[in-house]
Amino acid sequence: MKLRNALCTASAVAMVAGAAYAQESLTIAIVNNGHMINMQTVAEAYTAETGVELNWVSLEEGVLREQVTSDTATGGGQYDIINIGMQEAPIWGQAGWIEPLNFGADYDVDDILPAMRAGLSYEGQLYAAPFYGESSMVMYRKDLADAAGVTIKDNDSWARIMQAASAMHDPDNGVYGACLRGKPGWGDNMAFLTTVVNSFGGAWFDADMRPALDTAMWNEAVNFYVDLLGNYGPPGSEGNSFNEILALYNEGKCGLWIDATIAASFLTVDGVAYAQSPNAGNPVGANWLWAWAMAVPAGSPNTEAAVAFIEWATSKDYVQAVGNHPDFGWGAVPTGQRASTYELPEFQAAAGFAAAEMAAIESAAPAATDIKPYVGVQFAAIPEFPEVGSVVAQEMAAALSGAKSVEEALAASQAAADAIMREAGYYD
């Protein structure tokens, strides 16, 4: 009897200890983004303070999406915290795949940039907290622009961008007027091209969620994109995305580049100037909005501890911790996240692009409107968008390479998108 009691007691102690141990360990799936990599080091202080052990699983963006989706679809439990983007957050929040995030008063949720907060919420409830956000802007070689006698202003017209690219274009000396994304992918060429379409007054879908790729706005925007990149872009642009263009730019081969604001922190050439993204006379400019955020999957057994960690990792204190960290400093603090960060003099001094980035993020318009009946700037926050975007991306790359005419590519895109949306039940 004594032995049985002792065994029961030992088992109970082991179970309690096991449960306590389980609560103190979080598995976090992250993208290989500079800010998330830094967080692994900064968070050592969190572990020291709270005793919560953190297991980081770093994955490439595409693989992360695939693994998180399969984990969520199969009941979850593999991860306690996941990195998701602005495209997924509202959809997954609506589907109940991720937990709503409610933080204490000290967190100051109103300090999160309104555009980011809106893009990561569903029906006003925050489902993912941003650890890094970005918009897009024009980055150009001021020395080349000055030598060519052209200027690029904030929110310039596309016609003037074309003119500037033409003036700086000097392929004999290895300089191409404009470097833009051409590699097919909904997050690659379509991220940029969608912002061009937006600025021409177009949108992916009409009020009935029927694809609107057969409109004059798409035709005009895509023709402009193909002309600009075809005439003044580097050869093989249909294979270029962020990393390829970053390498070209740092080799001094690009006159201007319109892309993610984070690019500014990787540029090593001298004389870079920034301008807000262009538009074609419409109220919506060609600047996108994106955030990588942290969310808690519904299947996580450690929801409370996970929410507590996210509260710390996206707080004002975390920004201070990175800024004052001997390995990182103020040039490495998370951007595009909190308004208070941009007010810090230390940050302003360390990041020359801060003002341009803040202005770009603030002017992005992710909310649904009469023209654009869906949430999102360079994407539509609907589950079918990755499929639609990927198909259209291939067609646009074909148009850019000259394998198809713009009209043929748009007609094929419209037919494919229509089939996907019809199949998904948006209309008969």
């Binding site: 598995t27 993208v31 290989n32 983004n33 500079g34 990599i37 692994q40 080091t41 297991n55 699983v57 770093s58 994955l59 490439e60 963006e61 693989v63 695939e66 693994q67 399969s70 679809a73 199969t74 009941g75 439990g77 593999q78 991860y79 997050g187 995305s241 962020f242 990393n243 970053l246 390498a247 740092n250 080799e251 993610a260 984070i262 690019a263 990787f266 090593t268």
Partner: protein, 277 residues
């Protein structure tokens, strides 16, 4: 006469030069990767530092300190070794049976096994994940060893079958007449005779297991994650971390390249399926 002289001249100088050129062409990506691993991320993309740069060990130190390299490496060694052993353990008797005791169905069975390699892995991804989670084996070495063994078994059996077919049946039958049982035939006669083929098959299977990335990335989280997952995690869509990525890749392929170097004779024999005999 002139033609003979010309062709022998080509044989003396041309062929070695051509062989070296092809060899260098194939080796260049590995050389470039190793070289890049000693550059900083910023230097790695600057053309002026293509061959001349100040080498740094920072990427390797960073990897050892922050990326837990040894945990991934240990898992790679354990899963690749066990999967190879298991594959050979099942593959040798299976190939033996088909080579020396063929039935009418043998050809079809061999073709069926090969056809399983034609199925795109993505087609069975979700069923595999459901199954692995359902039986509680997700992110375990047991699962990875099982999957690696099963996906490589068809190739192993095909290779072993090809080697075994070259051994005269009479030798096996002589053993039978001397009263040796099946296990004895395999152990005492077949394995010593086909040792070269078995070794080259095992080596190739080990390399396949070590380099496998589709399943090892998708069926693991932490506990069973292999070096493939470490490399995968260092790819970035925004930011050129080529120095870091090259260091991780070099450290991941290093052991297998060294192993391949020591066993190149067997490997060539395995890859050419005995064509050089």
């Amino acid at each position: 006469m002139a033609i003979v002289a010309q062709s022998s001249k080509f044989g003396t100088y041309g062929r070695p030069i051509l062989a070296w050129a092809v060899g260098l062409l194939f080796f260049f990506p590995i050389f470039y990767m190793v070289m890049t691993s000693f550059k900083t991320d910023a230097d790695a993309v600057k053309p002026e530092f293509l061959f001349f740069f100040t080498p740094t060990l920072d990427n390797y130190l960073n990897m050892a300190e922050n990326y837990d390299y040894w945990r991934f490496a240990k898992n790679s060694v354990i899963t690749a070794v066990l999967a190879t052993v298991f594959t050979m353990f099942v593959g040798i008797p299976a190939a033996y049976a088909m080579a020396f005791n063929p039935s009418r169905a043998t050809k079809d069975v061999l073709m069926w096994m090969l056809s399983t390699k034609m199925l795109p892995a993505a087609a069975v991804l979700y069923p595999m994940i459901y199954l692995a989670k359902g039986i509680g084996l997700y992110d375990t070495k047991v699962l990875i060893v099982t999957v690696l063994s099963l996906i490589n078994l068809p190739i192993a059996i095909w290779m072993l079958f090809t080697y075994f077919k070259e051994i005269p049946k009479d030798i096996i039958e002589a053993g039978k007449m001397d009263g040796v049982n099946t296990w004895g035939e395999i152990k005492e006669i077949l394995v010593p005779l086909a040792w070269g083929g078995i070794a080259s098959t095992a080596l190739l299977i080990f390399i396949f297991c070590w380099n496998e990335a589709y399943w090892t990335v998708r069926l693991t989280t932490i506990d069973a994650a292999t070096l493939s997952k470490l490399i995968e995690g260092n790819r970035a869509p925004e930011g050129l971390f080529f120095g870091r990525l090259s260091a991780v890749s070099t450290a991941a392929v290093g052991p297998i390249v060294v192993l391949g170097w020591f066993c190149q004779k067997q490997l060539v024999q395995g890859l050419t399926f005995g064509a050089v005999k």
